[in-house]
């Protein structure tokens, strides 16, 4: 990048919407260090850092990624009917052809397990179940086993004549299937709870499965008293075999699928489809909310007056749970204290801002990994992923995750899942810790530096820059430009109820930057003199929509109306393949009471006495979605791009994200 910068001071590609030809960044600026140090490690591919932002190198790991890991990466967030069906058929074929002993077949499993239930406690049975699921590959293929049952059910009727000698087994099997079927909605419902991590549902699925198994065992116990007890060794063997079959089945299915769809192209497509984000938890769905509530650590009381339009979002009474949670601090043994601390900080609002939250979370995870020891009879990747998932759901209860955090979690889980089984526990742990460090460094810290380099090249002498709220990247851009000796003025626009701009204003003024402070209503009053608008973002969605602090859209809109360029500064790890058109469908609601109260203004207390009236609702939106039309340019660590290029970045660099 540097070589090109030297000859072309202004990055040629990214003059979006505005261009000041006379403004050439000083050479000192363009060749300053950070890009040097930061760009190379941004991705493994050497091409990506030396290219101008338009030319996006093909992901290097794509093909071997596919070849090496055909299935395990996809924990079936989206059930795909056809492969499963085929796999089910495969399974049955294998059963019929390959197994001579009916006791070894899948169908015989249930009675045998019932005997286990007779002999030992059910927990040991499930423990045994898990003990056998040793490799990560098996672990991830395990949930798919759930889906195997439905085809089996259909084939069960066909198999009946073959199984005459064990009618009880069939009825028990049917019970099992029924249990499975009834249990299956549960994991599906829980999926949306972790919106952006597709890996999360896995442990829940298995939990549900375990429950289903136990139920079937109970049923079997009742029904199959008469059946003679075979040796336990045999049953265990049968289970084991059953699992190996299962383990094989997905691979067979994939290979069949791949051959049928003519090569990796299709399967790549399929994988991409799997990557599509799972639907989020919708809080207007009563049953799911009930289920989620039962499992939650944080005891949130629901807001009494909920805004009708936002029923699908969690609306809680704020400020009630904190004390309660604090009192639980010493009781919650499964929760790591670092996690607990960060969760409470989220809840109290002590940590805010996408980067800060993400870093805090990752560091807490790092702490967890450091203190982690694999429990006996479990494997590290599987158990750690489960643990992290439970922590993530705790975080979600404290405060809904941001998309950037979702991306980070996805990265982390992917790294854990990809750990080579040959590594020892301490090696795996240190590898994960380094990965987390690298993510923080490269995706956040260095990315910010690159963004600052790019963005401050856009600041010219005499500029009047408008910023909104408080974004740490934008603040760094301003301070860096100020350090470079550029003469400019900053207009800090702020809005209620958080008034984050005040803190930014204080820091800027302390550094000697000339500032003007105003509130968002006056934005069209001050927009006349503004030459550029710099905004931060919580996330950039792949249709170019900028999802950011509420009010950003207003500022961008007014800037657009006044023909002022709007520059968004956002790290690429915050890009997300989700799309969104409005700010209603997905948002976060803050504390409604913050709206009614105006701190520091004694004369404005109109709502003190009516705030409990039924007709009055207070709506405290946290984010809004800025349409791509209003955005002139997005500055990311990959360069300066127009909002239309966001999906390209998302598509091409996402594998890099995950692999680094």
């Amino acid at each position: 990048m540097d070589a090109r910068r030297g000859s072309l001071p202004v990055p040629r590609v990214r003059q979006v919407g505005f261009f000041t030809p006379n403004a050439q960044p000083a050479p000192t600026r363009s060749q300053s260090g950070p890009p040097d140090s930061s760009s190379p490690p941004l991705s493994d591919s050497p091409a990506s850092n030396s290219l101008s932002p338009v030319m996006i190198p093909p992901p290097r790991h794509h093909s071997d990624n596919l070849a090496a890991a055909p299935r395990p990466t996809s924990p079936l967030p989206v059930p795909e009917p056809s492969p499963f069906r085929r796999r089910g058929a495969d399974n049955n074929n294998a059963l019929l052809v390959g197994s001579y002993n009916p006791a070894e077949t899948l169908l015989a499993m249930s009675p045998s397990s019932s005997h286990v239930g007779d002999g030992e406690s059910e927990e040991t049975m499930s423990g045994g179940w898990f003990r056998r699921s040793n490799s990560g590959k098996l672990a991830s293929s395990l949930p798919s086993g759930t889906f195997d049952f439905s085809p089996v059910q259909s084939t069960a009727e066909a198999l009946k004549p073959n199984k005459v000698q064990n009618p009880v087994g069939i009825s028990v099997l049917n019970n099992t299937i029924l249990a499975e079927v009834s249990a299956r909605p549960a994991p599906k419902e829980q999926q949306p709870e972790a919106p952006s991590s597709s890996k999360q549902p896995k442990p829940k699925l298995t939990k549900a499965e375990r429950r289903a198994l136990q139920e079937s065992q109970r049923a079997a116990k009742a029904a199959a008293k008469a059946v003679a007890a075979p040796e336990e060794v045999a049953t265990i063997k049968s289970v084991k075999q059953h699992q190996t079959q299962k383990k094989d089945a997905p691979q067979v299915a994939v290979s069949v699928a791949a051959s049928e769809r003519k090569g990796g192209d299709k399967s790549q497509e399929k994988e991409r489809r799997k990557d599509a984000p799972a639907p989020r938890m919708q809080f207007d769905d009563k049953s799911r909310v009930e289920k989620a509530k039962r499992r939650s650590v944080v005891d949130q009381t629901e807001a009494k007056k909920r805004v009708e339009l936002f029923r699908h979002l969690p609306q809680y009474e704020h400020g009630t749970q904190l004390a309660d949670l604090e009192s639980k601090f010493l009781q919650l043994d499964p929760m790591h204290p670092a996690i607990y601390k960060v969760g409470l900080q989220y809840l109290a609002g002590d940590i805010s801002g996408g980067n800060a939250r993400c870093i805090a979370m990752l560091q807490a995870f790092q702490q967890v990994v450091k203190d982690y020891s694999t429990p006996p009879e479990k494997t590290l990747p599987r158990d750690l992923t489960a643990k992290i998932s439970s922590y993530v759901s705790f975080f979600t209860q404290c405060r809904p995750l941001s998309m950037s955090m979702g991306n980070a979690i996805r990265f982390l889980k992917n790294r854990i899942a990809k750990l080579s089984p040959s590594l020892s526990e301490s090696e795996s742990k240190s590898s994960i810790c380094t990965d987390i460090d690298r993510f923080i460094n490269e995706k956040i810290v260095l990315a910010d530096r690159v963004i600052v380099q790019h963005a401050s090249s856009k600041v010219k002498d005499g500029d009047v820059l408008l910023v909104y709220g408080s974004s740490c990247v934008v603040e760094m851009v301003l301070l860096h430009s100020h350090e470079l000796g550029k003469q400019f003025r900053v207009i800090v626009v702020d809005s209620r109820p958080k008034l984050e701009g005040k803190a930014l204003l204080r820091r800027l003024v302390a550094k000697g930057v000339h500032c003007t402070y105003t509130h968002i209503n006056a934005v069209s009053y001050v927009m006349h003199e503004v030459t550029k608008v710099f905004l931060g973002a919580s996330s950039v969605l792949s249709n170019g929509t900028v999802y950011s602090r509420v009010g950003t859209a207003c500022v961008a809109m007014v800037a657009h109306a006044f023909r002022v360029p709007v520059i968004i500064c956002c790290e690429a790890y915050k890009f997300h393949e989700r799309v969104q058109l409005d700010s209603i469908c997905s948002n976060e609601l803050g504390d409604p009471d913050a709206i009614g109260k105006v701190p520091g203004r004694m004369d404005v207390n109109y709502l003190n006495d009516v705030s409990n009236s039924g007709n009055l609702q207070l709506l405290n939106l946290m984010y809004d979605a800025t349409p791509a039309d209003y955005v002139s340019m997005i500055v990311t660590d990959y360069g300066m791009i127009p909002p239309t290029s966001v999906p390209v970045i998302v598509r091409e660099y996402r594998r890099d994200h995950l692999l680094i």
């Binding site: 809005s495 402070y517 207003c554 520091g600 709502l607 007709n615 709506l619 939106l621």
Partner: protein, 435 residues
């Protein structure tokens, strides 16, 4: 007239200290003040209308200077001036018509001045009629036929009328009393109109609000409150989003009153306007003043709402009592034609605005260490901008609802011609320039 002066001074003080809030209250008080001025004004035997006009104008000037942002004051002064002219003319016309009917033969004796000698017999009547025409809204025909003639006429009209009246001294006393009486009657009517304009506007609510509508408004306006409540009384059920209108938080007040009247109200922050506007069917707002070009001076933040509404094709409806808020604003000093002054506001955000105290945004003391940071080199590091008003361009406004019905923004200039005499625009400007 010492007591009048005391009244005026008191009102001036209130205006200067911004004690009077809202254009309706200001308009009403201005009209009442002017009414007492007129009633107390001792009218000379000759040129009574001129004397009244001068008196009203002198006080009006003081009022306008006291609070140049409160445009309702100037509007009411102009309205009263217009009323005086109109009443004077109607009396003159009546008198002249009578005169012409009864004393056609002896008009040679009446013509005292030499310039009057060579005028035709019915010149007085013609002059009066022409003057009346200029007070009436200008028609397209008049514009095409050459406005300058009519521009010149009104200046001589009062003197012409007076010269006519000079001869008829016996009618004088009755006419004086009649003129003042008529004017005060008309001003009373004006006050009445100002008081009832809410109701007139609110009556139209049912025509604009349908069932299950979602309405967004910003800040607080009595007109909007009445409008919404009128629709509510007609059993329409709808919900209202109220943007709070920082830093004055008038929205809280409006929300409180709406809730008290049983309306489903949701209070949102101003920053959430863009997020919510996509679910809103109509934006209904009040205004501070309406420009002749259809632009609106409204509480700060309104331009943002208007732009958001425009983006989402949501109708942006402005409620404006036509008596108090129609502003005649003369933008450039170069526009001399008083008939249809272009009246395009030049940079109204800055010219017609008022900056309020920074303490509404930042507490005093909170940044006191920063505010004088740069005192060494003269300019402080930190400025705080807290404007009161916003200018909404006419293209962002879908509809004006006034007490005379709904109007397009492009029609606003016509209403102005209805309510103000073209003469006063010029006069006002000359005085403004003098100041």
């Amino acid at each position: 007239m010492p007591d009048v002066q005391a009244l005026v001074n008191e009102f001036l003080n209130k205006l200067k200290k911004r004690k009077i809030e809202g254009s309706q209250a200001t308009a009403k008080q201005t009209a009442e003040l002017l009414r007492s001025v007129i009633s107390q004004q001792r009218v000379p035997r000759t040129n009574q209308a001129g004397a009244l006009i001068d008196a009203v104008r002198a006080i009006g000037e003081q009022l306008i200077v006291a609070n140049p942002i409160e445009l309702a004051v100037g509007n009411i002064v102009r309205r009263v001036l217009h009323i005086i002219r109109e009443e004077d003319l109607s009396l003159t016309t009546a008198a002249v018509a009578e005169l012409n009917l009864s004393t056609v033969s002896d008009d040679d004796d009446d013509g005292g001045g030499g310039d009057q000698d060579d005028r035709p017999v019915l010149s007085a009547a013609a002059v009066a009629a022409a003057a009346r025409n200029t007070l009436r809204p200008p028609s397209l025909q008049m514009l095409l036929e050459g406005a300058p003639d009519f521009v010149a006429v009104p200046r001589s009209s009062s003197s012409g009328g007076d010269s006519e009246g000079k001869s008829k001294s016996m009618d004088r006393n009755s006419r004086t009393r009649k003129l003042k009486h008529d004017i005060i009657e008309a001003v009373n009517e004006l006050i009445q109109d100002i008081t009832t304009c809410h109701e007139l506007i609110a009556e139209q609510a049912v025509e604009h609000i349908h069932q299950n509508e979602v309405i967004l408004t910003l800040g607080s306006s009595k007109t909007v409150l009445e409008f919404l409540c009128a629709a509510k009384e007609k059993k329409r059920s709808f919900r209202v989003f109220v943007a709070e209108g920082a830093p004055r938080y008038q929205g809280h007040l409006l929300a409180k009153e709406l809730v008290a009247r049983g309306l489903q109200t949701t209070l949102i922050t101003d920053s959430a306007v863009f997020a919510m506007i996509s679910r809103v069917n109509m934006v209904i707002v009040g205004s501070h003043a309406v420009m002749a070009n259809g632009g609106v001076i409204a509480p700060v933040g309104m331009n943002m709402v208007a732009l958001a509404a425009q983006k989402h094709a949501v109708p942006f409806v402005v409620l404006a009592g036509s008596h108090k808020v129609i502003l005649v604003y003369i933008g450039a000093s170069t526009c001399r034609g008083p008939m249809l002054c272009p009246l395009y506001p030049h940079n109204p955000e800055v010219l017609l605005n008022e900056l309020r105290s920074p303490s509404e945004l930042l507490d005093f003391g909170e940044f006191s260490d920063c505010l004088d940071f740069g005192s060494g080199d003269g300019s402080p590091l930190l400025h705080v901008v807290n404007p009161t008003f916003d200018y909404v361009p006419p293209k962002a406004v879908s509809l004006f609802i006034t007490d005379t019905g709904g109007h397009n923004p492009s029609y606003m200039y016509r209403l102005i011609a209805d309510y103000y005499s073209a003469d006063d625009l010029v006069v006002q400007r000359r005085h403004a320039a003098g100041n």
